[in-house]
């Protein structure tokens, strides 16, 4: 099967007064149609910048230094703004962490959802859908995200809905253009755990029902494990390890992945000693030489500060970028 989205050696710098921030350092990822890929990492690892770059809404001053992104045979980096308009929301859509920020507090849900429906109607059929068509489409979208009392939600203002409801509305908007790829950036982080479980269930349902391809970004390994078949672990702008979720979580090979999992408190079973990763995340204006994790790595040797480890395959669909990946 050919890849649906391919990211190859993608390098992105953001100029600042103090020097260039090297936020993405040679990202290589690919995912197949209908697949859900999780990208997990701690704050500042570049996961959100990467996600937004896929949609061409990366940092305004960001400079691509190398690499490319290809989606469904389209070279994303060569699109101009008018071509992007035929991709965003139509082929690739995105949902965000805090739904309140992305809804206008002054308009009803119905009005805002209808705006999106009208915009897509114009783009696709080159005419404005009638009022009745708009309403039918909105109801269908709200039903798709399992909102049962769609009439009430349609007439509500954002503040009248719960966080979970608002996130459902945002997902409905993202689906309005019938996209093939959905990028979900921390979609459950602002939600309570019982609501998080519902939203994850909804995303799983959409994947199987609509054949959606999903890239889900999260700092929460648990949320990723609940939804993604494959996972990529990011640290300081580098994908350090990627592969099948089951393999990465049960047999992590990169010292950072191992450290991240050892730091997680568990809800059941024996309480292991929580191990913190010593040190702090590096300044990406002057990232560590060689492997960016080496100053905090328990297995670092001389080579680690000199040579950047090449990502190598260590099993079926399991890639690690480490000089000392445990065999």
């Amino acid at each position: 099967m050919t890849a649906f989205l391919t990211i190859e050696d993608y390098r992105l710098d953001i100029p600042t007064f103090d020097g260039d921030l090297k936020v993405l350092d040679g990202i290589t990822l690919s995912l197949e149609k209908g697949e859900t890929l999780g990208i997990v990492g701690e704050s500042g690892c570049g996961k959100t910048v990467l996600a937004r770059s896929i949609l061409g809404i990366g940092p305004a001053r960001g400079k691509r230094m190398s690499g490319r992104m290809v989606f469904d045979s389209i070279e994303l980096d060569e699109l101009d703004e008018s071509e992007w308009r035929r991709i965003r929301g139509v082929k690739i859509s995105m949902i965000f962490q805090d739904p309140m920020t992305y809804l206008n507090p002054l308009f009803t849900i119905g009005r805002q959802l209808a705006d999106v429906v009208v915009a897509h109607g114009r783009a696709k059929a080159e005419r404005t859908p009638s009022r009745d068509e708009q309403r039918r489409r909105c109801d269908a979208l709200l039903e798709q995200v399992q909102i049962r009392d769609s009439a009430r939600v349609f007439d509500s203002y954002p503040h009248q809905l719960s966080g979970g409801m608002r996130q459902r509305v945002l997902i409905a908007m993202a689906l309005a253009g019938e996209p093939q790829l959905l990028i979900a950036d921390e979609p459950t982080t602002a939600l309570d755990v019982t609501i998080q479980a519902q939203i994850l269930e909804l995303l799983r349902d959409l994947v199987s029902r609509l054949g959606l391809t999903v890239v889900m970004i999260s700092h929460d390994v648990g949320a990723i494990a609940a939804i993604a078949r494959r996972v990529a672990v990011m640290y300081a702008g580098v994908v350090v390890e990627q592969g099948r979720t089951e393999d990465i979580l049960t047999r992590p090979r990169h010292p950072y992945t191992q450290g991240l999992l050892a730091a997680l408190p568990e809800i059941e079973g024996e309480r292991h000693v929580l191990e913190a990763i010593p040190g702090t995340i590096p300044n990406l204006i002057h990232p560590p030489s060689g492997c960016r994790f080496h100053p905090r790595c328990p297995r670092a040797t001389d080579i680690c500060s000199v040579e950047k480890p090449v990502a190598r395959s260590i099993g079926a669909d399991h890639v690690v970028a480490c000089h000392h990946a445990l065999a």
Binding site: E42, S43, G163, D192, V193, T194, Q196, A197, L200, H219, D220, V221, G222, A223, A225, A226, E246, L249, T250, R251, P252, Q258, G259, L260, L261, A262, A263, L264, P265, E266, I267, E268, G269, R271, V273, L274, E275, A276, I277, T280, I281, L326
Partner: protein, 273 residues
């Protein structure tokens, strides 16, 4: 709620350091009243760690604030080491406050951006003690040592520190006057998991070293399971369930608790290396 099963507890013989009975808080807004906390009772023995878990809006942070007397309870009594806090005001309340301190969720907003770290840690001494000059500087150095930060941090400003480092400063400031009770309101929620692990481990050590008693508020059940010996589950201002942490997590007796625990995504178990 059903009355909790009485379990033989290692703390059984010791008198409670903190005891609150019938705590209720009604907020009034726009002519409507809202019961944020409804008849909550708790007791923490000296040296114990009580966790309060619940989702947003459950009233858990309001309980923390009530216990600290940062807000006035509508009803209920709070006893700290047998002394009735709810009846206190003015100077006696100010004096008793040195025995209980609070650490907030967001270390980025809890520190004054225009004060150095030294000023942040020295402030409790200036407010509550006569300690000044070289002695004060020694105490500040000692506190930085307790939270494992270099003395050079004294002259830095909060923005120069990471989130985990800032939270350590907040903890240093909270333990400065050697309080007996530390209220921790979501102290790791704004932090990354690797930093959260540092803070949890550190809090465990600190409790033993300084003989502290904790009231630990969190929405994160896994963290509560690691740190607390007793737990209260709250929902919509009410206590749903309480008991020893292991018993509540292994055999929750209420539906709400079961649902809360079941909602947490499970990770496949790591292979032993």
């Amino acid at each position: 709620m059903s009355s909790p099963v009485t379990m033989p507890s290692p703390d059984a013989g010791r008198p409670p350091l903190l005891e609150a009975t019938g705590l209720t808080k009604v907020f009034l807004s726009g002519g409507k009243s809202f019961k944020a906390v409804d008849d909550v009772s708790l007791r923490i023995p000296q040296g114990g760690v009580l966790g309060i878990v619940g989702e947003s809006g459950s009233g858990k942070s309001t309980v923390a604030r009530l216990v600290m007397r940062l807000i006035e309870p509508t009803a209920g009594r709070i006893l700290l080491d047998g002394e009735d806090l709810s009846a206190m005001s003015g100077e006696p309340l100010r004096l008793v406050r040195r025995h209980m301190q609070i650490v907030f969720q967001n270390p980025h907003s809890a520190l004054n951006p225009r004060h150095t770290i030294r000023d942040a840690i020295a402030e409790p001494f200036l407010v509550q003690t006569q300690l000044r000059g070289i002695e004060l500087e020694r105490r500040v150095d000692g506190l930085l040592d307790i939270v494992s930060l270099p003395k050079a941090f004294k002259y830095r400003y909060p923005h120069e520190l990471s989130g985990g480092q800032k939270q350590r400063i907040c903890i240093a400031r909270a333990v400065a006057l050697e309080p007996r009770l530390l209220v921790l309101d979501e102290p790791t929620s704004a932090l990354d998991v690797s930093v959260q692990a540092q803070i949890i481990t550190f809090l465990q050590e600190l409790r033993e070293r300084l003989n502290l008693t904790y009231l630990f508020i969190s929405h994160n059940l896994a963290v509560v399971r690691y740190l607390c010996d007793h737990v209260i589950v709250m929902n919509r201002g009410r206590m749903v369930e309480e008991g020893p942490t292991d018993a509540v997590f292994a055999n929750p007796s209420e539906d709400y608790t079961r649902k809360l625990i079941a909602s947490i995504p499970r990770l496949p178990q790591r292979a032993q290396t």
